[in-house]
Symmetry: C2
Subunit: 450 residues, 2 copies
């Protein structure tokens, strides 16, 4: 690893000295993923100079490997349209689409005007980028199902030259309908005169272009296939999505889920600047502030109680906090159950809430009793204060735990992404409910005594 | 999808009726992943009866596809050792190891005693299950780098029969040292007399058996390779880890990270029973209770202040809540930056905290001023109360945001998994600090006035 880092540092130095010849000599031995790191670490001016002098094929490989956050489209945008088009021509069509989609419309149009295979790219641009269509490449290797192994090998040979890496050979009929998948190993162990149809395997799974990328990822993980063919509603082969595209999707979805869970804006770039962070997070905090006022309003309403029994103010953070924690636990479990497809179908889904309710009832009583005892001893209000605290704690844990499960399930039911049910949302609920229970019960059960 | 579900329901019915012949006829058309769902959904008795009568190869395929949470090892454990050993013999060695590792030691030993290729399995059992060694299969397809393409194809043909699916052909020298990787497409487009060495590609990346599985996943995602070869410290080929194993790892790590973030026990099974959930979560809640008492202690100390200025109790949940939210946002961002390897190296890592500190300073003042104004108007204590609230809010957001970034970075620095820094931990901190600031400042700035 460290060796690689030193190598990258050397390349960075050469680039900054403008020594393109030596840079090129060294860069040839580097994997495009590593070269893309070097490119991304350079300042804009050095980057532009380098990209203009390096061979187009090397630049396109490196751009394809850049992370979204390293903004490869900005590199493209800085170039003259003709040069940018040459680079786009070298890119795999799915990578080209990813870059073009990020560019301003006029710049994109100017570059596309000079791109040779723009028809493919323009068609792919028509798909929603979060679907199988948006993630697929049209570069597929196909053989006719009626061909012999010998003819198939010849056909593959012809296509392999300009195909990207491929892991599956698709068998189509004469209308380009996908009828099977031919594993390399079947091809290699078969007699040259064997007909493809007799050694191909059923095309399972396939997806349509409009399927959501997360579901494509789940299929690839479930069936352990390196790629999944994309077909039209009539079964015609359109392209393929590969495992590596799907791994990127999984990583991005995880980031989004954790940011949402933490009440952070899911569109915040992980390596963004401080002013982007301030601008992105402030609206979320403001929204949270409004909900926090709800909890404060409950306390405001019961101020008299607090003046008379100040130990209630001491108990407030415990009741609210524990309800919030229990709710966040249930929320985390439920959000993941939904994400990995582990929620029972139909009415059985509501058993999930039943289970959490039971967990809340039991854990609520387990933590409610000791805290109630402490309150009874410290409060100097007799056993009544202890009872109020125990009941409030119990009730808040039951509500928190049940809500932690119910909220994401309800959101999913009505077609909203359940991950937006952040921990912040649940803790506001347990704040409001916990304070209401604690102070309300105190008003009912303690007032005669104080 | 629904069609598949109906098909599975039909199979379940046949299994429960004990109609193995018709079950078998139908099951042959099913992907092992789908068959494993059917098997997992049966009660223990039906499952056992079915597994004992189905052909061993079908059972082993289905067990290999079961999720951990469906406990395929329990199916194995219920069988007589001889039968279980037959199934293990059919399994890929990495899948066999996963099952055997979950069994009680005596049961595992009894089964292994009858397994034919137990040497491989016992060697794999020696690796930590979270490393490349624990995830790899020893089933690799190799060719000598000095062979011709024609001889290589013959060698592959011989190995392909009992190899699982493979996506890469490994080129080794006569000491079994890995010297290159031969893509299928290079093989297929080359002349039969070409020497393998001239068409192979450098073996990049490779991993050693002790590398953590998460890093293996990152390498596969980074270099877009369907498999990564595992080598000894002397470069000898030991096995390979494939993309599908790594996708399972990614999914499990995401679950663990979200559970930890939510303060839930990461070992809780997503589909576990209510009593497992109660038992797993209660220790975490008890720990949280102890920390909640810290926040309560601060309020206990300042009870007199609250009795005199009860609006302070109203402001408590707002100050604590907003600090917690800002902290959770920073925590979510930082935990993900660490997980995807986006923290700068060396001293530059601390710039991450600097950025968050700045974000806290700016967002803190932005939400602190309006809340302070509200407090000044409602409190009837003049501008001083407003100042106290604004300063407490500001300070708590600065601390929360900085701590959200600093805690996981510090944990990582000292070699502890940064994901254990759950949102619960940060919100406790902001509760304690927020209350101390609010009530402490009030004691200093308001006392002369009240």
């Amino acid at each position: 690893m460290n060796e690689g880092l030193e190598y990258q540092e050397e390349l960075r130095q050469l680039a900054m000295q403008g020594d393109v010849a030596r840079f090129l000599a060294k860069a040839r031995g580097l994997h495009p993923s590593d070269l893309s790191d070097v490119l991304a670490s350079l300042d804009g001016e050095t980057q532009l100079r380098l990209v203009q002098t390096l061979p187009v094929s090397i630049v396109s490989d490196a751009l394809a490997e850049m992370d979204d956050e390293e903004h490869p489209e900005a590199v493209l945008a800085a170039l003259p349209s003709e040069k940018a088009a040459d680079i786009v021509d070298e890119l795999a069509d799915d990578d080209a689409v990813d870059l073009i989609a990020e560019l301003p419309a006029d710049k994109a149009a100017r570059i596309l005007a000079s791109v040779a295979d723009r028809a493919d790219i323009e068609r792919l641009l028509g798909y929603d980028e979060d679907t199988a269509g948006g993630k697929m490449t049209t570069a597929v290797v196909t053989v006719l199902d009626t061909a012999t192994v010998e003819a198939a090998i010849e056909a593959i040979r012809e296509q392999a030259a300009d195909a990207e890496e491929f892991y599956q050979i698709y068998c189509v009929d004469d209308t380009f309908k996908l009828v099977g998948i031919l594993p390399f190993q079947n091809l290699i162990v078969s007699d040259p005169v064997t007909v493809v149809r007799s050694i191909m395997e059923p095309p399972l799974p396939t997806v349509t272009a409009d399927l959501d990328q997360e579901q494509v990822a789940q299929l690839i993980a479930r069936y352990n296939v390196p790629a999944v063919p994309v077909v039209s509603h009539f079964g015609k082969l359109l392209g393929r999505v590969t495992f590596d595209d799907v791994m990127d999707v999984m990583e991005k979805e995880t980031t989004e889920d954790i940011l949402k869970f933490g009440g952070a804006p899911p569109e915040e770039e992980l390596a963004g600047t401080w002013h982007q962070a301030v601008r992105n997070r402030l609206p979320w905090l403001t929204l949270n502030l409004l909900t926090a006022f709800l909890a404060a309003a409950v306390v405001y309403f019961f101020q008299d109680m607090i003046i008379r029994v100040s130990l209630l103010a001491v108990m407030m953070p415990i009741i609210a906090g524990m309800g919030g924690n229990a709710g966040t636990q249930a929320l985390a479990i439920t959000v993941r159950r939904i994400a990995v497809g582990m929620i029972p179908a139909g009415r059985a889904r509501w058993t999930v809430i039943g289970k959490e309710l039971l967990v809340g009832l039991l854990n609520g009583i387990a933590v409610g009793i000791p805290v109630g005892l402490v309150a009874a001893v410290l409060g100097g209000q007799g056993w009544q204060l202890g009872l109020v605290v125990t009941l409030a704690m119990w009730g808040n844990l039951v509500l928190g735990t049940a809500a932690g499960a119910a909220i994401p399930l309800l959101l999913q039911r009505i077609g909203v992404d359940p991950a937006v049910a952040s921990s912040v949302f649940v803790t506001t609920l347990t704040d409001v409910f916990g304070f209401s229970l604690l102070l309300g019960l105190a008003a009912v059960l303690l007032l005669p005594g104080v």
